[in-house]
């Protein structure tokens, strides 16, 4: 799988990425390919994609590749540029600079073809208020040659939505469910879901994610889902991209990311080994008195065995979840496990 890191073509990697396994920068994967060639291999390719609103830089030279068939969780704080990026990909917003290719098509010049093959679910409730689910079905059926009435009705049934109720009479959660039912029934090749579960209770959220997963299983679609609900992204995504300040600052397979973020906490009885930072598999050492937190990679068991030879008070492996990684990446601290 292709993986990108902070800066891409424009800058260096931050310290936390340097030894993480399975991560490469955008320029190393280019391999002399033309953007079009790369675009044909990936679902989404962004090169220097930039959007500026007056003095505000919403997206800052974004270099990003989303492999076909992947489920990518796009996470980041408010104002990180997630929604603007999605809007540029479907042609709602024009880039100030840079280019993007979606499903092999130029997002600036071929957005109509992209929209025909992409299911985009905006963050805001934006369905026509006068429409019932049946009206929406009649409207969408004409727009998408791949539209499936059966899939739409099946999803409505799963959510327990009536096809006769107008959108204006629906709760926020019902509107989100109808929007998702409409999006998956298009049977798109790419799903762009912008905060799809916001406003849903846990039960509906679970059904919602199941529909997404079923859709992926059935059609093999590529999914990009922005979310503040990190456990959701953790549940459905096989890749995670952290966005901040209009750029992807960290991205990898979820497993590789967790693997790379594993820590060993060790409390030595006496002095720690003087060459600890140079040990094989030790990426970084944070020391606080006799407590040492080791960022590690590779064979953790071998490392623990080597540490135990020093008779430490405590030696344990700490598994990071996405929330820890999110806070680490966003630089906001957060709870340590």
């Amino acid at each position: 799988m292709l993986e990108t890191g902070e800066g891409g073509l424009r800058g260096g990697k931050p310290a936390y990425m340097k030894e993480e396994p399975g991560m490469r920068e955008a320029e190393t994967m280019a391999d002399g390919q033309t953007p079009r060639e790369r675009a044909n291999e990936a679902a989404i390719v962004c090169e220097g994609l930039t959007k500026r609103y007056g003095a505000t830089l919403a997206v800052d030279g974004l270099d990003w590749v989303v492999p076909k068939g992947s489920i990518t969780g796009l996470v980041g704080p408010n104002g990180a540029g997630k929604s603007t990026t999605m809007k540029m990909l479907v042609g709602l917003v024009r880039p100030t600079a840079g280019r993007a290719w979606v499903l092999g098509r130029d997002a600036a010049g071929e957005s109509l073809l992209i929209r025909a093959r992409t299911g985009y679910m905006p963050e805001e409730d934006s369905l026509f208020r006068w429409m019932t689910a049946e009206d929406a079905m009649a409207f969408s059926r004409l727009l998408y040659p791949t539209w499936s009435d059966a899939l739409f009705r099946e999803t409505l049934d799963l959510f327990g939505l009536s096809p006769k109720v107008p959108v204006s009479k629906m709760s926020k959660g019902m509107k989100r469910q109808l929007a998702l039912a409409l999006t998956v029934a298009q049977r798109p090749e790419l799903l762009l879901l912008d905060e799809p579960t916001s406003g849903l209770d846990p039960e509906r959220r679970r059904d919602f994610l199941n529909v997404i997963l079923k859709s992926v299983a059935r059609e093999g679609v590529t999914v990009v889902m922005s979310s503040h609900q990190l456990h959701e992204a953790e549940r459905v995504a096989d890749r995670v991209a952290f966005m901040r300040g209009g750029r992807i600052v960290r991205e990898s397979d979820l497993d590789a990311l967790k693997e790379a973020a594993r820590r060993i906490r060790v409390v030595f009885q006496g002095e720690p080994p003087p060459d600890l930072a140079q040990w094989e598999g030790v990426v970084r050492v944070e020391a606080d008195g006799r407590l040492h937190l080791l960022q590690v990679s590779g064979d953790v068991d071998a490392l623990i065995a080597r540490l135990k030879a020093y008779n430490p008070f405590v030696v344990e492996v700490i598994e990071y979840n996405l929330e820890n990684l999110y806070f680490e990446t966003s630089g906001k601290g957060g709870t340590r496990p």
């Binding site: 809007k87 042609g91 709602l92 026509f128 429409m131």
Partner: protein
């Protein structure tokens, strides 16, 4: 016609049907009332002409044929109620066409569908103008039928032909409102601004030498009533201007961000 265009037409027809129903009902009610008010109008006018307190020069300003049914109907329908209502309806429809999608929050959904923005504008324009034309026709039919029933008077063909300059002018006003609608996200603000802009176009009608340049004067189809000559040139000019405005609106929408 592509499936996407059919989808847009379906949406516009469903979405605009209540606006059309209200416009049609208003025009039909006015259409019915105009022939019914003829005798009352004649009575009032007769009293005014006989009132010695009214100066003679004022009485002479009144057209001598004012009490004739054809003059009465034309002046109260084409030159007053119909054209004014069509202008108001055109402003309401045009100003809410695009701005309404933003103020209702449906713009992102609509413009992320596989349809071009130009086709959205053209579908909206086509359906809205069709609604306006149908409402004007229904109002005129209501007037005609009431005139026949109440007074045994059948309007001449020119009465229906007079709808054409009114609708051409209505299309021009709609185009103005549509351009405003692509620049503002609030349909109420767009409506107010469109009304102000439309009002500015009435300035030529205040100056006798410029009256023929006024869209509102041309809408009344005076030449058609007086001479029976169809006003081809004003109609073509108004239609061309309307087409230019709709194209400008589509161009403007094409370039803007749907944020």
């Amino acid at each position: 016609m592509t499936a996407a265009v059919r989808a847009l037409l379906f949406k516009e027809i469903r979405e605009g049907r209540w606006k059309f129903a209200i416009a049609a009902l208003v025009l039909m009610a006015v259409g019915v009332s105009v022939p019914l008010a003829y005798e009352m109008f004649g009575g009032v006018l007769g009293e005014l002409l006989e009132d010695a307190r009214i100066p003679q020069f004022l009485k002479e300003l009144l057209p001598p044929d004012m009490l004739q049914m054809d003059t009465y109907l034309w002046s109260n329908w084409h030159a007053k109620n119909l054209y004014q209502t069509v202008v108001v309806v055109a402003i309401i429809f045009g100003s809410s066409a695009v701005a309404g999608e933003f103020s209702r929050g449906s713009a992102q959904y609509l413009f992320s569908r596989p349809v071009t923005r130009r086709s959205v504008v053209l579908a909206k324009t086509g359906i809205d103008l069709l609604w306006i034309a149908l409402a004007a026709l229904l109002g005129t039919l209501a007037l005609d039928i009431t005139g026949r029933l109440a007074h045994g008077y059948a309007v001449p063909w020119t009465f229906y032909a007079g709808l054409v300059p009114i609708l051409a002018g209505g299309a021009f006003v709609y185009g103005l409102a549509l351009v405003v609608s692509t620049r503002l996200d609030d349909s109420v603000k767009a409506g107010v601004l469109a009304a102000v802009v439309a009002a500015l176009f009435s300035i030529p009608s205040w100056v006798p030498a410029w009256r023929s340049f006024s869209v509102y004067v041309q809408m009344t189809g005076r030449a058609l009533y007086r001479d029976g000559a169809f006003p081809w040139l004003p109609v073509l000019v108004m239609v061309a201007l309307a087409a230019g405005l709709v194209a400008a609106a589509a161009e403007r929408l094409e370039k803007r961000d749907i944020a």
